[in-house]
Symmetry: C2
Subunit: 324 residues, 2 copies
Protein backbone atom coordinates (compact mmCIF):
# COMPACT_ATOMS: atom_id res chain seq x y z
CA UNK A 1 0.00 0.00 0.00
CA UNK A 2 2.22 2.80 -1.22
CA UNK A 3 -0.39 4.98 -2.95
CA UNK A 4 -1.75 8.05 -1.21
CA UNK A 5 -4.42 7.36 1.36
CA UNK A 6 -5.87 9.17 4.33
CA UNK A 7 -6.57 8.84 8.01
CA UNK A 8 -9.30 10.51 10.04
CA UNK A 9 -8.44 12.60 13.08
CA UNK A 10 -11.19 13.45 15.55
CA UNK A 11 -10.21 16.76 17.12
CA UNK A 12 -12.68 16.50 20.02
CA UNK A 13 -12.23 14.55 23.24
CA UNK A 14 -8.86 15.84 24.38
CA UNK A 15 -8.71 17.23 27.93
CA UNK A 16 -6.58 20.10 26.66
CA UNK A 17 -8.81 21.12 23.77
CA UNK A 18 -8.75 20.59 19.99
CA UNK A 19 -5.25 22.05 19.45
CA UNK A 20 -3.61 18.83 20.65
CA UNK A 21 -5.18 16.71 17.90
CA UNK A 22 -4.67 19.41 15.27
CA UNK A 23 -0.97 19.70 16.12
CA UNK A 24 -0.82 15.90 16.10
CA UNK A 25 -2.34 15.85 12.59
CA UNK A 26 0.30 18.28 11.44
CA UNK A 27 3.07 16.08 12.90
CA UNK A 28 1.66 13.13 10.97
CA UNK A 29 1.68 15.12 7.73
CA UNK A 30 5.32 16.08 8.33
CA UNK A 31 6.42 12.53 9.14
CA UNK A 32 4.44 10.60 6.54
CA UNK A 33 4.56 12.28 3.12
CA UNK A 34 2.35 9.59 1.55
CA UNK A 35 -0.51 10.11 4.01
CA UNK A 36 -3.23 12.77 4.02
CA UNK A 37 -5.54 13.57 6.91
CA UNK A 38 -9.24 14.30 7.38
CA UNK A 39 -9.89 16.44 10.45
CA UNK A 40 -13.32 16.30 12.06
CA UNK A 41 -14.47 19.14 14.31
CA UNK A 42 -15.16 22.86 14.27
CA UNK A 43 -14.16 24.02 10.76
CA UNK A 44 -13.02 27.51 11.78
CA UNK A 45 -10.91 26.35 14.69
CA UNK A 46 -9.24 23.64 12.62
CA UNK A 47 -8.74 25.81 9.57
CA UNK A 48 -7.14 28.67 11.54
CA UNK A 49 -4.85 26.38 13.48
CA UNK A 50 -3.72 24.42 10.42
CA UNK A 51 -2.90 27.69 8.62
CA UNK A 52 -0.99 28.92 11.66
CA UNK A 53 1.00 25.66 11.65
CA UNK A 54 1.73 26.11 7.95
CA UNK A 55 0.19 22.82 6.90
CA UNK A 56 -0.07 22.08 3.14
CA UNK A 57 -3.72 22.75 2.20
CA UNK A 58 -3.67 19.99 -0.41
CA UNK A 59 -3.04 17.35 2.21
CA UNK A 60 -5.96 17.84 4.56
CA UNK A 61 -9.71 18.15 4.41
CA UNK A 62 -12.12 19.12 7.17
CA UNK A 63 -15.49 17.62 8.08
CA UNK A 64 -17.32 20.33 9.98
CA UNK A 65 -19.25 19.50 13.15
CA UNK A 66 -19.71 20.95 16.59
CA UNK A 67 -21.24 17.83 18.10
CA UNK A 68 -19.30 15.60 20.47
CA UNK A 69 -20.01 12.56 22.66
CA UNK A 70 -18.33 13.27 25.99
CA UNK A 71 -17.55 11.08 28.98
CA UNK A 72 -20.51 12.60 30.78
CA UNK A 73 -22.98 11.47 28.11
CA UNK A 74 -25.12 8.40 28.51
CA UNK A 75 -23.66 6.55 25.57
CA UNK A 76 -26.73 4.70 24.37
CA UNK A 77 -28.75 7.92 24.43
CA UNK A 78 -26.02 10.05 22.87
CA UNK A 79 -25.54 7.46 20.17
CA UNK A 80 -29.00 8.16 18.78
CA UNK A 81 -29.36 11.85 19.67
CA UNK A 82 -25.95 13.00 18.46
CA UNK A 83 -25.77 11.57 14.96
CA UNK A 84 -23.32 14.28 13.93
CA UNK A 85 -20.91 13.63 16.77
CA UNK A 86 -17.35 13.77 15.44
CA UNK A 87 -16.58 10.17 16.40
CA UNK A 88 -19.62 8.82 14.51
CA UNK A 89 -18.96 10.96 11.43
CA UNK A 90 -15.42 9.57 11.45
CA UNK A 91 -16.59 5.95 11.51
CA UNK A 92 -19.08 6.70 8.74
CA UNK A 93 -16.24 8.12 6.64
CA UNK A 94 -14.27 4.89 7.24
CA UNK A 95 -17.23 2.86 6.09
CA UNK A 96 -17.87 4.86 2.94
CA UNK A 97 -14.41 5.65 1.66
CA UNK A 98 -12.08 2.83 0.68
CA UNK A 99 -9.01 5.11 0.72
CA UNK A 100 -9.61 6.15 4.31
CA UNK A 101 -7.70 3.54 6.28
CA UNK A 102 -8.41 4.41 9.89
CA UNK A 103 -9.15 6.92 12.62
CA UNK A 104 -7.44 8.45 15.67
CA UNK A 105 -9.65 9.79 18.45
CA UNK A 106 -9.32 10.83 22.08
CA UNK A 107 -13.11 10.59 22.37
CA UNK A 108 -15.42 8.27 24.25
CA UNK A 109 -14.35 4.60 23.93
CA UNK A 110 -17.86 3.26 24.51
CA UNK A 111 -19.14 5.35 21.59
CA UNK A 112 -16.18 4.20 19.51
CA UNK A 113 -17.04 0.53 20.06
CA UNK A 114 -20.79 1.04 19.55
CA UNK A 115 -20.09 3.04 16.39
CA UNK A 116 -17.74 0.34 15.15
CA UNK A 117 -20.51 -2.22 15.61
CA UNK A 118 -22.88 -0.02 13.60
CA UNK A 119 -20.58 0.97 10.74
CA UNK A 120 -17.70 -1.49 10.61
CA UNK A 121 -18.89 -4.80 11.98
CA UNK A 122 -17.15 -7.89 10.63
CA UNK A 123 -19.01 -10.89 9.26
CA UNK A 124 -18.34 -13.10 12.27
CA UNK A 125 -20.32 -10.69 14.48
CA UNK A 126 -17.85 -10.71 17.34
CA UNK A 127 -18.17 -7.77 19.71
CA UNK A 128 -15.29 -5.35 19.05
CA UNK A 129 -12.92 -4.64 21.92
CA UNK A 130 -10.14 -2.16 22.57
CA UNK A 131 -6.57 -3.46 22.85
CA UNK A 132 -3.57 -1.76 24.43
CA UNK A 133 -0.19 -2.84 23.10
CA UNK A 134 2.18 -2.53 26.05
CA UNK A 135 5.94 -3.02 26.29
CA UNK A 136 6.90 -6.02 28.42
CA UNK A 137 9.85 -6.62 30.72
CA UNK A 138 11.57 -8.83 28.15
CA UNK A 139 11.51 -6.08 25.51
CA UNK A 140 8.53 -7.41 23.57
CA UNK A 141 4.84 -6.52 23.67
CA UNK A 142 1.64 -7.78 25.23
CA UNK A 143 -1.83 -7.10 23.87
CA UNK A 144 -4.18 -6.27 26.78
CA UNK A 145 -7.90 -6.66 25.96
CA UNK A 146 -10.34 -5.10 26.79
CA UNK A 147 -9.03 -1.72 27.94
CA UNK A 148 -12.13 0.12 28.90
CA UNK A 149 -14.87 -0.17 26.32
CA UNK A 150 -16.73 -3.11 27.87
CA UNK A 151 -16.65 -2.62 31.62
CA UNK A 152 -18.99 -5.47 32.55
CA UNK A 153 -18.12 -8.44 30.33
CA UNK A 154 -19.65 -11.87 29.91
CA UNK A 155 -17.39 -14.92 29.67
CA UNK A 156 -18.37 -15.27 25.99
CA UNK A 157 -17.24 -11.71 25.31
CA UNK A 158 -13.90 -12.40 27.01
CA UNK A 159 -13.62 -15.49 24.83
CA UNK A 160 -14.22 -13.35 21.72
CA UNK A 161 -11.64 -10.82 22.92
CA UNK A 162 -9.08 -13.63 23.34
CA UNK A 163 -9.68 -14.71 19.72
CA UNK A 164 -9.45 -11.12 18.43
CA UNK A 165 -6.25 -10.49 20.40
CA UNK A 166 -4.74 -13.76 19.21
CA UNK A 167 -5.48 -12.91 15.55
CA UNK A 168 -4.06 -9.44 15.97
CA UNK A 169 -0.78 -10.59 17.54
CA UNK A 170 -0.40 -13.32 14.92
CA UNK A 171 -0.81 -10.84 12.07
CA UNK A 172 0.91 -7.75 13.42
CA UNK A 173 3.79 -9.34 15.32
CA UNK A 174 4.05 -12.54 13.26
CA UNK A 175 3.71 -14.74 16.34
CA UNK A 176 2.67 -18.21 15.17
CA UNK A 177 0.73 -19.21 18.21
CA UNK A 178 0.23 -16.28 20.57
CA UNK A 179 0.12 -17.27 24.25
CA UNK A 180 -3.18 -16.24 25.84
CA UNK A 181 -3.34 -15.43 29.57
CA UNK A 182 -6.36 -14.64 31.73
CA UNK A 183 -5.91 -11.92 34.36
CA UNK A 184 -6.80 -13.36 37.75
CA UNK A 185 -6.04 -13.08 41.45
CA UNK A 186 -3.90 -16.21 41.54
CA UNK A 187 -2.17 -18.48 39.07
CA UNK A 188 -3.95 -21.71 40.05
CA UNK A 189 -6.93 -22.85 37.95
CA UNK A 190 -9.12 -22.70 41.08
CA UNK A 191 -8.44 -18.97 41.57
CA UNK A 192 -10.56 -16.19 40.11
CA UNK A 193 -13.88 -14.41 40.41
CA UNK A 194 -17.14 -15.69 38.96
CA UNK A 195 -16.34 -14.19 35.54
CA UNK A 196 -12.83 -15.58 35.18
CA UNK A 197 -13.88 -18.99 36.49
CA UNK A 198 -16.54 -19.14 33.76
CA UNK A 199 -14.09 -17.90 31.15
CA UNK A 200 -11.23 -20.27 32.01
CA UNK A 201 -12.75 -23.43 30.46
CA UNK A 202 -13.86 -21.53 27.33
CA UNK A 203 -10.27 -20.45 26.66
CA UNK A 204 -8.79 -23.80 27.69
CA UNK A 205 -11.03 -25.86 25.44
CA UNK A 206 -10.79 -23.69 22.32
CA UNK A 207 -8.21 -25.31 20.05
CA UNK A 208 -7.63 -22.08 18.16
CA UNK A 209 -6.13 -20.58 21.31
CA UNK A 210 -2.78 -21.30 22.96
CA UNK A 211 -4.09 -20.75 26.48
CA UNK A 212 -1.42 -20.54 29.20
CA UNK A 213 -3.74 -20.12 32.20
CA UNK A 214 -4.32 -17.50 34.86
CA UNK A 215 -1.89 -14.59 35.13
CA UNK A 216 -1.51 -12.50 38.30
CA UNK A 217 -1.26 -8.71 38.25
CA UNK A 218 2.45 -8.72 39.05
CA UNK A 219 3.08 -10.76 35.89
CA UNK A 220 0.68 -8.77 33.67
CA UNK A 221 3.45 -6.99 31.78
CA UNK A 222 6.21 -9.54 32.39
CA UNK A 223 6.10 -11.06 28.91
CA UNK A 224 4.73 -14.43 30.08
CA UNK A 225 1.85 -14.11 27.60
CA UNK A 226 1.26 -12.33 24.27
CA UNK A 227 -2.41 -11.55 24.92
CA UNK A 228 -3.80 -10.79 28.37
CA UNK A 229 -7.58 -11.07 28.63
CA UNK A 230 -9.51 -9.04 31.23
CA UNK A 231 -12.79 -7.18 31.58
CA UNK A 232 -12.58 -3.42 30.98
CA UNK A 233 -12.72 -2.59 34.67
CA UNK A 234 -9.81 -4.84 35.68
CA UNK A 235 -7.70 -3.95 32.64
CA UNK A 236 -8.16 -0.30 33.56
CA UNK A 237 -6.67 -1.08 36.98
CA UNK A 238 -3.65 -2.75 35.36
CA UNK A 239 -3.01 0.31 33.18
CA UNK A 240 -3.62 2.97 35.79
CA UNK A 241 -1.90 1.26 38.71
CA UNK A 242 1.17 0.71 36.51
CA UNK A 243 1.12 4.38 35.57
CA UNK A 244 0.57 5.58 39.15
CA UNK A 245 3.34 3.39 40.56
CA UNK A 246 5.83 4.46 37.90
CA UNK A 247 5.04 8.12 38.49
CA UNK A 248 5.39 7.67 42.23
CA UNK A 249 8.77 5.92 42.03
CA UNK A 250 10.12 8.54 39.63
CA UNK A 251 8.97 11.30 42.02
CA UNK A 252 10.65 9.37 44.84
CA UNK A 253 13.93 9.22 42.90
CA UNK A 254 13.83 12.96 42.24
CA UNK A 255 13.36 13.58 45.98
CA UNK A 256 16.25 11.24 46.76
CA UNK A 257 18.48 13.06 44.27
CA UNK A 258 17.66 16.45 45.79
CA UNK A 259 18.07 15.27 49.36
CA UNK A 260 21.43 13.66 48.61
CA UNK A 261 22.58 16.45 46.28
CA UNK A 262 23.13 13.98 43.47
CA UNK A 263 22.10 16.03 40.45
CA UNK A 264 24.53 13.91 38.39
CA UNK A 265 21.88 11.16 38.58
CA UNK A 266 19.23 13.16 36.70
CA UNK A 267 19.81 11.36 33.36
CA UNK A 268 18.38 8.24 35.02
CA UNK A 269 15.15 10.15 35.65
CA UNK A 270 15.06 11.13 31.98
CA UNK A 271 15.57 7.50 31.00
CA UNK A 272 12.74 6.28 33.27
CA UNK A 273 10.34 9.03 32.21
CA UNK A 274 10.87 8.09 28.59
CA UNK A 275 10.36 4.38 29.30
CA UNK A 276 7.28 4.80 31.49
CA UNK A 277 5.62 7.85 29.97
CA UNK A 278 2.11 6.59 29.40
CA UNK A 279 0.91 9.89 27.88
CA UNK A 280 3.02 9.43 24.76
CA UNK A 281 2.43 5.66 24.54
CA UNK A 282 0.24 4.23 21.82
CA UNK A 283 -3.49 4.26 22.42
CA UNK A 284 -6.12 1.54 22.39
CA UNK A 285 -6.73 -0.24 19.10
CA UNK A 286 -10.27 -1.30 18.23
CA UNK A 287 -10.15 -4.99 17.28
CA UNK A 288 -12.97 -6.79 15.51
CA UNK A 289 -13.91 -4.00 13.09
CA UNK A 290 -13.38 -3.77 9.33
CA UNK A 291 -11.05 -0.80 9.69
CA UNK A 292 -8.65 0.42 12.34
CA UNK A 293 -9.54 2.99 14.95
CA UNK A 294 -7.16 3.96 17.70
CA UNK A 295 -8.35 5.51 20.94
CA UNK A 296 -5.87 8.02 22.35
CA UNK A 297 -6.08 8.97 26.00
CA UNK A 298 -8.00 12.11 26.92
CA UNK A 299 -4.86 13.49 28.55
CA UNK A 300 -2.52 12.60 25.68
CA UNK A 301 -0.21 15.08 23.96
CA UNK A 302 0.41 15.70 20.24
CA UNK A 303 3.31 13.20 20.27
CA UNK A 304 0.76 10.53 21.16
CA UNK A 305 -1.16 11.36 17.95
CA UNK A 306 2.05 10.97 15.97
CA UNK A 307 2.84 7.65 17.70
CA UNK A 308 -0.65 6.24 17.28
CA UNK A 309 -0.70 7.53 13.69
CA UNK A 310 2.52 5.59 13.07
CA UNK A 311 0.93 2.52 14.64
CA UNK A 312 -2.19 2.88 12.50
CA UNK A 313 -0.18 3.24 9.30
CA UNK A 314 2.00 0.30 10.33
CA UNK A 315 -1.01 -1.93 10.93
CA UNK A 316 -2.65 -0.93 7.65
CA UNK A 317 0.52 -1.48 5.67
CA UNK A 318 1.06 -4.85 7.31
CA UNK A 319 -2.48 -5.62 6.22
CA UNK A 320 -2.98 -7.09 9.68
CA UNK A 321 -6.66 -6.59 9.54
CA UNK A 322 -7.22 -6.64 5.83
CA UNK A 323 -6.17 -10.22 5.21
CA UNK A 324 -9.27 -11.60 6.83
CA UNK B 1 -2.15 -3.53 78.42
CA UNK B 2 1.31 -4.08 79.89
CA UNK B 3 0.79 -7.50 81.47
CA UNK B 4 2.08 -10.61 79.76
CA UNK B 5 -0.15 -11.88 76.98
CA UNK B 6 0.29 -14.11 73.97
CA UNK B 7 -0.17 -14.24 70.22
CA UNK B 8 -0.82 -17.28 68.05
CA UNK B 9 1.48 -18.09 65.14
CA UNK B 10 0.26 -20.54 62.50
CA UNK B 11 3.38 -22.19 61.10
CA UNK B 12 1.65 -23.63 58.02
CA UNK B 13 0.87 -21.79 54.78
CA UNK B 14 4.27 -20.36 53.94
CA UNK B 15 5.59 -21.18 50.46
CA UNK B 16 9.01 -21.81 51.97
CA UNK B 17 7.89 -24.17 54.71
CA UNK B 18 7.29 -23.86 58.45
CA UNK B 19 10.77 -22.53 59.32
CA UNK B 20 9.83 -19.03 58.16
CA UNK B 21 7.02 -18.65 60.71
CA UNK B 22 9.06 -20.34 63.47
CA UNK B 23 11.98 -17.97 62.90
CA UNK B 24 9.45 -15.11 62.82
CA UNK B 25 8.06 -16.24 66.19
CA UNK B 26 11.55 -16.21 67.63
CA UNK B 27 12.14 -12.68 66.31
CA UNK B 28 8.93 -11.57 68.04
CA UNK B 29 10.09 -13.09 71.34
CA UNK B 30 13.41 -11.27 71.04
CA UNK B 31 11.81 -7.92 70.22
CA UNK B 32 8.85 -7.96 72.60
CA UNK B 33 9.86 -9.20 76.06
CA UNK B 34 6.29 -8.83 77.37
CA UNK B 35 4.76 -11.10 74.72
CA UNK B 36 4.64 -14.91 74.58
CA UNK B 37 3.75 -16.99 71.53
CA UNK B 38 1.64 -20.06 70.82
CA UNK B 39 2.89 -21.95 67.76
CA UNK B 40 0.44 -24.18 65.90
CA UNK B 41 1.76 -26.94 63.64
CA UNK B 42 3.81 -30.12 63.74
CA UNK B 43 5.06 -30.37 67.33
CA UNK B 44 8.38 -32.10 66.52
CA UNK B 45 9.31 -29.69 63.75
CA UNK B 46 8.49 -26.64 65.87
CA UNK B 47 10.12 -27.97 69.01
CA UNK B 48 13.38 -28.86 67.26
CA UNK B 49 13.60 -25.55 65.43
CA UNK B 50 12.83 -23.46 68.51
CA UNK B 51 15.55 -25.33 70.45
CA UNK B 52 18.01 -24.78 67.61
CA UNK B 53 17.17 -21.06 67.68
CA UNK B 54 17.77 -20.98 71.44
CA UNK B 55 14.25 -19.72 72.28
CA UNK B 56 13.27 -19.49 75.97
CA UNK B 57 11.05 -22.51 76.65
CA UNK B 58 9.00 -20.58 79.18
CA UNK B 59 7.82 -18.14 76.53
CA UNK B 60 6.22 -20.43 73.96
CA UNK B 61 3.72 -23.25 73.84
CA UNK B 62 2.87 -25.53 70.95
CA UNK B 63 -0.52 -26.75 69.74
CA UNK B 64 0.19 -29.92 67.78
CA UNK B 65 -1.54 -30.56 64.43
CA UNK B 66 -0.59 -31.82 61.02
CA UNK B 67 -3.76 -30.58 59.30
CA UNK B 68 -3.70 -27.53 57.02
CA UNK B 69 -6.16 -25.76 54.70
CA UNK B 70 -4.19 -25.01 51.54
CA UNK B 71 -4.92 -22.79 48.54
CA UNK B 72 -5.86 -25.89 46.58
CA UNK B 73 -8.62 -26.86 49.02
CA UNK B 74 -12.25 -26.11 48.37
CA UNK B 75 -12.70 -23.85 51.36
CA UNK B 76 -16.27 -24.67 52.26
CA UNK B 77 -15.50 -28.39 52.13
CA UNK B 78 -12.19 -28.08 53.96
CA UNK B 79 -13.84 -25.98 56.62
CA UNK B 80 -15.97 -28.92 57.73
CA UNK B 81 -13.59 -31.78 56.94
CA UNK B 82 -10.43 -30.32 58.44
CA UNK B 83 -11.57 -29.26 61.89
CA UNK B 84 -8.01 -29.55 63.19
CA UNK B 85 -6.50 -27.33 60.52
CA UNK B 86 -3.95 -25.02 62.14
CA UNK B 87 -5.80 -21.85 61.14
CA UNK B 88 -9.07 -23.02 62.74
CA UNK B 89 -7.35 -24.22 65.93
CA UNK B 90 -5.76 -20.78 66.14
CA UNK B 91 -9.10 -18.97 65.88
CA UNK B 92 -10.58 -21.33 68.47
CA UNK B 93 -7.73 -20.47 70.83
CA UNK B 94 -8.48 -16.74 70.28
CA UNK B 95 -12.11 -17.35 71.14
CA UNK B 96 -11.43 -19.34 74.28
CA UNK B 97 -8.49 -17.57 75.85
CA UNK B 98 -8.83 -13.96 76.92
CA UNK B 99 -5.05 -13.48 77.20
CA UNK B 100 -4.49 -14.53 73.59
CA UNK B 101 -4.77 -11.26 71.70
CA UNK B 102 -4.41 -12.24 68.07
CA UNK B 103 -2.98 -14.50 65.37
CA UNK B 104 -0.48 -14.31 62.52
CA UNK B 105 -0.94 -16.73 59.62
CA UNK B 106 0.30 -17.13 56.07
CA UNK B 107 -2.55 -19.59 55.46
CA UNK B 108 -5.68 -19.43 53.35
CA UNK B 109 -7.47 -16.05 53.64
CA UNK B 110 -10.87 -17.49 52.74
CA UNK B 111 -10.57 -19.98 55.60
CA UNK B 112 -9.40 -17.16 57.88
CA UNK B 113 -12.50 -15.10 57.15
CA UNK B 114 -14.90 -18.06 57.38
CA UNK B 115 -13.25 -19.12 60.64
CA UNK B 116 -13.52 -15.58 61.98
CA UNK B 117 -17.24 -15.63 61.23
CA UNK B 118 -17.58 -18.93 63.11
CA UNK B 119 -15.47 -18.15 66.17
CA UNK B 120 -15.11 -14.38 66.46
CA UNK B 121 -18.13 -12.76 64.89
CA UNK B 122 -19.12 -9.38 66.28
CA UNK B 123 -22.64 -8.54 67.40
CA UNK B 124 -23.44 -6.38 64.37
CA UNK B 125 -23.05 -9.43 62.09
CA UNK B 126 -21.05 -7.61 59.43
CA UNK B 127 -19.06 -9.89 57.13
CA UNK B 128 -15.39 -9.65 58.12
CA UNK B 129 -12.95 -8.44 55.47
CA UNK B 130 -9.20 -8.29 55.11
CA UNK B 131 -7.50 -4.88 55.08
CA UNK B 132 -4.04 -3.99 53.81
CA UNK B 133 -2.47 -0.89 55.36
CA UNK B 134 -0.32 0.60 52.61
CA UNK B 135 2.06 3.56 52.65
CA UNK B 136 0.84 6.47 50.52
CA UNK B 137 2.73 9.01 48.45
CA UNK B 138 2.23 11.71 51.08
CA UNK B 139 3.89 9.63 53.78
CA UNK B 140 0.67 8.45 55.44
CA UNK B 141 -1.35 5.25 55.08
CA UNK B 142 -4.39 3.99 53.22
CA UNK B 143 -6.53 1.05 54.32
CA UNK B 144 -7.41 -1.07 51.26
CA UNK B 145 -10.42 -3.38 51.78
CA UNK B 146 -11.02 -6.17 50.81
CA UNK B 147 -7.67 -7.66 49.87
CA UNK B 148 -8.55 -11.09 48.73
CA UNK B 149 -10.92 -12.87 51.06
CA UNK B 150 -14.16 -11.98 49.29
CA UNK B 151 -13.46 -12.17 45.58
CA UNK B 152 -17.04 -11.68 44.37
CA UNK B 153 -18.64 -9.01 46.54
CA UNK B 154 -22.14 -7.60 46.74
CA UNK B 155 -22.64 -3.85 47.07
CA UNK B 156 -23.87 -4.40 50.64
CA UNK B 157 -20.67 -6.21 51.53
CA UNK B 158 -18.62 -3.35 50.08
CA UNK B 159 -20.71 -0.97 52.17
CA UNK B 160 -19.92 -3.04 55.29
CA UNK B 161 -16.22 -3.05 54.38
CA UNK B 162 -16.29 0.76 54.08
CA UNK B 163 -17.75 1.00 57.60
CA UNK B 164 -15.21 -1.47 59.01
CA UNK B 165 -12.31 0.34 57.33
CA UNK B 166 -13.59 3.71 58.52
CA UNK B 167 -13.82 2.47 62.14
CA UNK B 168 -10.37 0.95 61.94
CA UNK B 169 -8.68 4.10 60.62
CA UNK B 170 -10.51 6.25 63.16
CA UNK B 171 -9.30 4.09 66.05
CA UNK B 172 -5.82 3.10 64.94
CA UNK B 173 -4.72 6.30 63.23
CA UNK B 174 -6.90 8.71 65.21
CA UNK B 175 -8.43 10.16 62.03
CA UNK B 176 -11.65 11.92 63.01
CA UNK B 177 -13.50 11.40 59.80
CA UNK B 178 -11.64 9.00 57.49
CA UNK B 179 -12.12 9.77 53.79
CA UNK B 180 -13.65 6.79 51.98
CA UNK B 181 -12.91 6.21 48.26
CA UNK B 182 -14.37 3.62 45.89
CA UNK B 183 -11.96 2.06 43.41
CA UNK B 184 -13.32 2.60 39.89
CA UNK B 185 -12.28 3.06 36.28
CA UNK B 186 -12.88 6.79 36.26
CA UNK B 187 -13.41 9.54 38.80
CA UNK B 188 -16.84 10.68 37.57
CA UNK B 189 -19.94 9.35 39.38
CA UNK B 190 -21.16 7.83 36.09
CA UNK B 191 -18.06 5.63 35.78
CA UNK B 192 -17.80 2.11 37.15
CA UNK B 193 -18.92 -1.45 36.67
CA UNK B 194 -22.26 -2.84 37.80
CA UNK B 195 -20.93 -3.48 41.32
CA UNK B 196 -19.39 -0.05 41.91
CA UNK B 197 -22.40 1.73 40.42
CA UNK B 198 -24.62 -0.10 42.91
CA UNK B 199 -22.20 0.62 45.76
CA UNK B 200 -21.73 4.35 45.04
CA UNK B 201 -25.13 5.53 46.38
CA UNK B 202 -24.86 3.29 49.45
CA UNK B 203 -21.61 4.97 50.45
CA UNK B 204 -22.77 8.44 49.44
CA UNK B 205 -25.97 8.30 51.43
CA UNK B 206 -24.54 6.80 54.62
CA UNK B 207 -24.00 9.69 57.04
CA UNK B 208 -21.50 7.68 59.08
CA UNK B 209 -19.14 7.74 56.10
CA UNK B 210 -17.10 10.63 54.71
CA UNK B 211 -17.37 9.44 51.11
CA UNK B 212 -15.10 11.23 48.63
CA UNK B 213 -16.22 9.42 45.45
CA UNK B 214 -14.62 7.21 42.84
CA UNK B 215 -10.85 6.79 42.87
CA UNK B 216 -8.89 5.65 39.80
CA UNK B 217 -6.09 3.09 40.00
CA UNK B 218 -3.36 5.69 39.49
CA UNK B 219 -4.57 7.49 42.63
CA UNK B 220 -5.10 4.32 44.70
CA UNK B 221 -2.03 4.90 46.87
CA UNK B 222 -1.76 8.67 46.40
CA UNK B 223 -3.16 9.58 49.80
CA UNK B 224 -6.39 11.09 48.45
CA UNK B 225 -8.43 8.79 50.69
CA UNK B 226 -7.89 6.99 54.01
CA UNK B 227 -9.93 3.91 53.11
CA UNK B 228 -10.14 2.51 49.58
CA UNK B 229 -13.02 0.11 49.00
CA UNK B 230 -12.80 -2.60 46.32
CA UNK B 231 -13.85 -6.20 45.77
CA UNK B 232 -11.15 -8.78 46.51
CA UNK B 233 -10.37 -9.37 42.85
CA UNK B 234 -9.75 -5.69 42.01
CA UNK B 235 -7.86 -4.97 45.23
CA UNK B 236 -5.60 -7.90 44.39
CA UNK B 237 -4.81 -6.19 41.08
CA UNK B 238 -3.91 -2.96 42.88
CA UNK B 239 -1.51 -4.79 45.21
CA UNK B 240 0.09 -7.05 42.64
CA UNK B 241 0.39 -4.53 39.80
CA UNK B 242 2.03 -2.09 42.22
CA UNK B 243 4.45 -4.81 43.27
CA UNK B 244 5.18 -5.92 39.69
CA UNK B 245 5.76 -2.38 38.45
CA UNK B 246 8.08 -1.51 41.34
CA UNK B 247 10.09 -4.68 40.79
CA UNK B 248 10.33 -3.97 37.08
CA UNK B 249 11.51 -0.39 37.50
CA UNK B 250 14.11 -1.41 40.09
CA UNK B 251 15.40 -4.11 37.71
CA UNK B 252 15.51 -1.46 34.97
CA UNK B 253 17.56 0.86 37.17
CA UNK B 254 20.05 -1.92 37.95
CA UNK B 255 20.44 -2.58 34.20
CA UNK B 256 20.95 1.15 33.58
CA UNK B 257 23.60 1.31 36.31
CA UNK B 258 25.49 -1.66 34.84
CA UNK B 259 25.28 -0.39 31.28
CA UNK B 260 26.49 3.08 32.23
CA UNK B 261 29.06 1.77 34.75
CA UNK B 262 27.50 3.86 37.50
CA UNK B 263 27.95 1.57 40.50
CA UNK B 264 28.04 4.70 42.67
CA UNK B 265 24.25 4.84 42.18
CA UNK B 266 23.58 1.50 43.91
CA UNK B 267 22.48 3.08 47.23
CA UNK B 268 19.43 4.39 45.35
CA UNK B 269 18.50 0.79 44.53
CA UNK B 270 18.81 -0.11 48.20
CA UNK B 271 16.57 2.83 49.10
CA UNK B 272 13.90 1.83 46.58
CA UNK B 273 13.99 -1.86 47.50
CA UNK B 274 13.43 -0.94 51.12
CA UNK B 275 10.55 1.40 50.25
CA UNK B 276 8.81 -0.96 47.83
CA UNK B 277 9.61 -4.38 49.29
CA UNK B 278 6.17 -5.92 49.52
CA UNK B 279 7.48 -9.19 51.03
CA UNK B 280 8.43 -7.51 54.30
CA UNK B 281 5.39 -5.21 54.37
CA UNK B 282 2.61 -5.77 56.86
CA UNK B 283 0.01 -8.35 55.97
CA UNK B 284 -3.76 -8.20 55.71
CA UNK B 285 -5.69 -7.45 58.90
CA UNK B 286 -9.04 -9.15 59.45
CA UNK B 287 -11.56 -6.44 60.30
CA UNK B 288 -14.98 -7.13 61.77
CA UNK B 289 -13.92 -9.88 64.20
CA UNK B 290 -13.67 -9.80 67.98
CA UNK B 291 -9.93 -10.33 67.90
CA UNK B 292 -7.15 -9.47 65.50
CA UNK B 293 -5.81 -11.87 62.92
CA UNK B 294 -3.22 -10.83 60.38
CA UNK B 295 -2.75 -12.68 57.10
CA UNK B 296 0.88 -12.72 55.97
CA UNK B 297 1.65 -13.44 52.33
CA UNK B 298 2.51 -17.02 51.38
CA UNK B 299 5.85 -15.80 50.04
CA UNK B 300 6.70 -13.62 53.03
CA UNK B 301 9.93 -13.85 55.01
CA UNK B 302 10.53 -13.99 58.78
CA UNK B 303 10.89 -10.19 58.89
CA UNK B 304 7.27 -9.99 57.75
CA UNK B 305 6.22 -12.02 60.80
CA UNK B 306 8.11 -9.59 63.02
CA UNK B 307 6.53 -6.57 61.26
CA UNK B 308 3.01 -7.98 61.36
CA UNK B 309 3.59 -9.07 64.97
CA UNK B 310 4.53 -5.46 65.79
CA UNK B 311 1.39 -4.28 64.01
CA UNK B 312 -0.78 -6.76 65.91
CA UNK B 313 0.67 -5.74 69.26
CA UNK B 314 0.29 -2.08 68.32
CA UNK B 315 -3.37 -2.54 67.42
CA UNK B 316 -4.11 -4.50 70.58
CA UNK B 317 -2.36 -1.97 72.80
CA UNK B 318 -4.18 0.90 71.11
CA UNK B 319 -7.32 -1.06 71.87
CA UNK B 320 -8.45 -0.19 68.37
CA UNK B 321 -10.77 -3.11 68.21
CA UNK B 322 -11.51 -3.55 71.86
CA UNK B 323 -13.27 -0.27 72.43
CA UNK B 324 -16.34 -1.35 70.55
Amino acid sequence: MQSRYQIVIDVFGNDNGPDVAIKGANLILSNFPHVNVILIGDQDVISNKMKELGADENRYTIIDTKEEITNLDNIVEAFYKKENASILLGLKELKENENTIGMLTAGNSGALVMGSIKYLRTDDLKRPCVAAILPTEDGKFVCLVDVGATIDCSSHQLHDFALLGSDFMRHLFQIDSPRIGLLSNGSEETKGNKLTKETYPLLKEDERLNFVGNIEGNKALSGCCDVLVADGFSANQVLKVTEGTAKRIITDIVKYIKMNKREDMMPLVGHLMKTYDISSLGGGIVLGAKKISIKCRGSCNEEAFLNTGRMLINIAENRAMYDK
